[in-house]
Symmetry: C2
Subunit: 134 residues, 2 copies
């Protein structure tokens, strides 16, 4: 909460509840799921505004795993880069260091600084890849 105040934000009850929900979660959650965990003691508009504010302070991140809603988690929740199967929608999370080699290659070849914490590495998981072979 100290970080919130230092960021110039008031510590309101909607905000506190949201932060508690985010800090108790062990995986990224959608705005709707977060609202449920608040037991209706806020609303979707406020949840989105607060998520945006907290993200600006760097306290949380959000990721887009495929077509569904964005998923939010505290920034300190690791691992936090994602591989997504764009066939079945499942994903795995890995430590960013696991993808350093990819980042290095992309940087050398294209001067891009690849990050897979907001949009994941997309592809086929082992199961779906095997089914494609047939």
């Amino acid at each position: 909460m100290a970080a919130v105040r230092e960021g110039g934000l008031r510590v309101t009850s909607a905000r506190r509840l949201l932060i508690e929900a985010l800090w108790e979660a062990d995986q990224p959650l959608s705005a709707e799921e977060l609202l449920e965990r608040l037991g209706g003691r806020s609303d979707l508009g406020s949840v989105y505004r607060n998520l945006e504010a907290l993200e600006r302070l760097g306290l949380i991140r959000h990721v887009h795993l495929g077509h569904g809603p964005g998923l939010y988690a505290r920034a300190s929740l690791g691992p936090r880069e994602y591989l997504l199967c764009d066939s079945c929608g499942t994903h795995i999370a890995v430590d960013p260091s696991e993808l350093d080699e990819v980042r290095d290659f992309i940087r050398r070849r294209f001067s891009y600084e690849a990050r897979f914490s907001h949009f994941p590495v997309a592809g086929l998981c082992p199961k779906c890849a095997k089914e494609r072979e047939k």
Copy 2:
């Protein structure tokens, strides 16, 4: 059109116009942009249904470049894997072979078959990466 009929689809005028628009385009277009090029001689619902049907036949593909609408292009339009700057939204298209090294690495390490034709490689373009450094 032969491919359409062989795929079990009727060659209707809405379909023919859509295909012509897709084949004339030199870059992926959104459903809305495609409808514009049809001069109102169809509607968004039909455009989406036809895009889906054509994609099932493997004649076209669609890609999600960031948060906007999905973008559709004929499957034969190359190059067709994408690097997206998730800061400024610009992207570049590269030949899939350019990313073989990434694919190999991901396959060895995670048994995933990476594909960047539907969801791109995300990161920071050179310009945005430079600005971040400051």
